[in-house]
């Protein structure tokens, strides 16, 4: 049947979209009202058990970021808004509001319906939910980290809420923009957001605006949300459907992994595809380059990720050193935690070497014995890259802060120990394969079954080790004891990581083939 002969019996676009949605909504395993109610019940219970105590505890302590005047609020609000826009854009590039169930999208893509007809409604609904979620998240963060909401009679309270509402309006449209617009347009928006934030922050700190800085920020955010939203919704009509189909297929697969407790497999799906330098691994005479050069070339095949790693490692090294160099500063712990987390993130983005190591330890032996063996082949690049980047950034920071409180030796020891701890945590995280069945066994305590908490911790074990390790190190009486603690934690991480692969410790040195 041709399309000409179908015209007589064809329904109007609205009826076609409604028909598909209706049939899809009545499929076999759709969520029932009871399912949704149970999800809400679980969310409330988990929030009451785990979140409320944290909120109460934090509320009773001194604010981490004191905001006592409008001049202090404005720069923080600008920074928060800029970070929200950038984060939303980045999220949109990977998982945007237009992602649909692959089959449903395939059905719509096979028609002559304009994407606006079938994506517009769902985008508006998701953006509304995202806006409300962002508003709640920003208000919660402000409540936990600042003293903005401590006094209900403060004049800063309505200004803070207005800024939060502004961020809640602009972040969702930036999310849609991130997905629907090109990379170039996204870079332009990110730069514009940075420039606007800088100008507003400088204006807000000066005396020109009086106490109205946050109001101005909120107004700018509202205008930006309206303009961006209009523009982003217009681009839905011309969205790249092939790219959207790929994103939807990937999101569906990732959702399955995440729901079955293997979040790391879900994240693996979002690794960038390598491009370029196709013949750089070999020398002109055909021989392979050395381990370090191989690692560098492979990292440069995913340039965006390598750049993110370089920035993250350098920033992490600088902030970590800052925290170590000023142990008596009120923000030393925050700096050390933030620095260690940034180094942890960067250590995972430096390349595929960690996964190569996991594969070598868990799959059938492929490589023969060579000089340096398994560690040299797989760990040379990530360890060197992390060490050099953190060392360089730390060195520059230390030079700028010279002389260091507590002496350079103690600072160097603490930074080195922290980096070792981070690398150990990264190793532990990367050796993860499938969710161990024993983690599903109940953990009965007076607070109830904590097995869900254990599974949650397992998902983010590397990060948990970094945060807990740095906090414990921070509580130690001397740098030497802190370094010993970090070393012990690192050894534990390596042993635990190897246990996950089913290999003994000596296999790291002798190679899996002879273990």
């Amino acid at each position: 049947m041709t399309t000409d002969s179908a015209t007589a019996v064809e329904a109007d676009p609205g009826a076609r979209v409604r028909a598909v949605r209706h049939l899809h909504a009545h499929r076999g395993d759709r969520a029932t009202v009871r399912d949704r109610a149970y999800t809400v019940y679980l969310t409330v219970v988990l929030a009451a058990v785990y979140v409320v105590p944290v909120v109460l505890l934090v509320n009773g302590t001194k604010a981490l970021v004191p905001l006592e005047s409008a001049e202090a609020v404005t720069p923080v609000a600008c920074l928060a808004a800029a970070v929200a826009v950038w984060g939303a854009q980045l999220t949109g590039r990977f998982w945007g509001p237009l992602v649909l169930k692959p089959f449903l999208l395939h059905v719509f893509m096979g028609t002559d319906l304009s994407p606006t007809h079938y994506l517009g409604t769902i985008a508006r609904r998701r953006l509304t939910y995202a806006g409300l979620g962002t508003l709640v998240a920003v208000c919660t963060a402000a409540f936990l980290l600042t003293d903005l909401f401590d006094d209900p009679r403060s004049a800063l309270l309505p200004q803070g809420v207005a800024v939060a509402a502004g961020i809640g309006a602009v972040a969702p449209v930036a999310w849609l923009w991130g997905q629907a617009r090109t990379v170039r347009e996204n870079v332009l928006l990110a730069l514009a957001a940075a420039a606007a934030a800088l100008v507003l922050a400088l204006l807000g700190r000066s005396a020109h605006l009086g106490g109205n800085g946050p109001w101005l920020v909120a107004a700018v955010l509202a205008v930006a949300a309206a303009a961006l939203g209009r523009s982003a919704f217009r681009s839905v009509r011309t969205i790249d459907l092939a790219r959207l189909a790929r994103a939807s297929a990937r999101a569906a697969e990732a959702q399955t992994f995440a729901r079955t407790g293997t979040l790391h497999h879900a994240l693996d799906l979002y690794r960038p595809q390598p491009r370029g330098l196709a013949s750089a691994l070999t020398r002109p005479d055909g021989r392979l380059r050395g381990h370090l050069a191989q690692g560098a070339v492979r990292a440069l095949r995913t340039r965006g990720r390598a750049l993110a790693a370089a920035v993250s490692l350098a920033a992490g090294g600088a902030v970590l050193t800052l925290g170590v160099a000023e142990p008596d500063s009120g923000r030393a712990t925050l700096y050390r935690l933030a620095g260690a987390v940034a180094v942890y993130a960067g250590s995972g983005w430096v390349g595929e070497a960690w996964r190569g190591l996991r594969d070598e330890l868990t799959l059938a032996p492929l490589y023969g014995g060579r000089w340096g063996g398994l560690p040299a082949r797989t760990l040379a690049w990530p360890v060197t890259a992390v060490t050099v980047a953190v060392g360089s950034a730390g060195g520059v920071t230390a030079a700028a802060r010279w002389p260091l409180d507590g002496g350079p030796a103690a600072a160097a020891l603490l930074v080195t120990a922290s980096v070792a701890l981070v690398l150990g945590a990264r190793f532990l995280r990367e050796m993860k394969t499938d969710l161990p069945v024993e983690l599903l066994l109940p953990v009965v305590t007076p607070l109830g079954d904590l097995s869900a908490l254990r599974v949650f911790v397992w998902q983010f074990d590397g990060l948990v080790v970094v945060l807990a390790g740095v906090l414990v190190m921070n509580g130690m009486p001397s740098a030497a004891v802190a370094a010993l603690t970090a070393t012990a934690a690192t050894v534990w991480c390596v042993r635990a990581g190897l246990r996950r692969t089913g290999r003994p410790l000596r296999s790291l040195l002798t190679g899996p083939g002879r273990a």
């Binding site: 019996v9 899809h24 059905v107």
Partner: protein, 210 residues
């Protein structure tokens, strides 16, 4: 029937990083014509189908659908063209009948026409007895027939198929060929990449690549 080809390749060529995926190719398929695309592995059959589909842009020459460059973003292009070239993302939680009806409903709305079209194509492909099953309960051959049903239930002026005989036994291949020939007689143009002699024998002409 107008004199405008349903699809046409005019020196269409695809080169990626110095590797030729499709050598310059010229041919056209008229409305109601059933044309096969043959050639060895790597000769560019799927690449050419993707170019017509609009998911692969030719680096040289042009691919035209009803005289206009293939472009998936254009509603008219999506209206004219149906394809089974890329894997179809089926819904694991819907039965065969539900999924085929859903595709029909995307054209005819939630009407008896949609249900009738779906039932007809399911019957023609011998899937009636399996209509209440879920995709995971099908064999590879049955899944292939199901994918063909999803593709053929919608109206189209041009249908692109990449090895429709995949996983099918001789009897089912005959069933599919009969259906394609019948649809071609009703005015739909077919371009089918195939290695199957039965399909080649039934078509109106062959484009040999490579």
């Amino acid at each position: 029937m107008s004199g405008l080809p349903a699809i046409a390749a005019e020196g269409a060529e695809v080169v990626l990083d110095g590797t030729t995926l499709l050598a310059p190719t010229t041919f056209s398929v008229m409305p109601g014509e059933f044309r096969c695309l043959t050639g060895s592995n790597g000769s560019g059959k799927t690449t050419l189908l993707r170019a017509f589909l609009g998911s692969r842009r030719p680096t040289g020459g042009a691919v035209l659908v009803r005289g206009e460059p293939a472009d998936m973003t254009r509603p008219r292009h999506r209206r004219l063209l149906a394809s089974l070239v890329e894997p179809v993302p089926v819904a694991r939680d819907m039965t065969l009948r539900e999924q085929v009806t859903l595709v029909a409903a995307s054209w005819y709305g939630n009407t008896t026409t949609a249900a009738g079209r779906a039932e007809e194509i399911v019957g023609r492909l011998g899937l009636t007895a399996l209509a209440e099953r879920f995709p995971s309960q099908l064999s590879s051959g049955q899944l292939q027939l199901f994918n063909l049903a999803l593709t053929l239930v919608r109206p189209a002026d041009v249908v692109l198929l990449d090895e429709p005989e995949r996983h099918l036994d001789t009897e089912r291949v005959d069933l599919v060929v009969t259906l394609l020939t019948e649809r071609a007689r009703q005015g739909t143009a077919f371009l089918v990449a195939t290695h199957e002699a039965v399909v080649v024998k039934a078509c109106d002409g062959v484009v040999e690549l490579g």
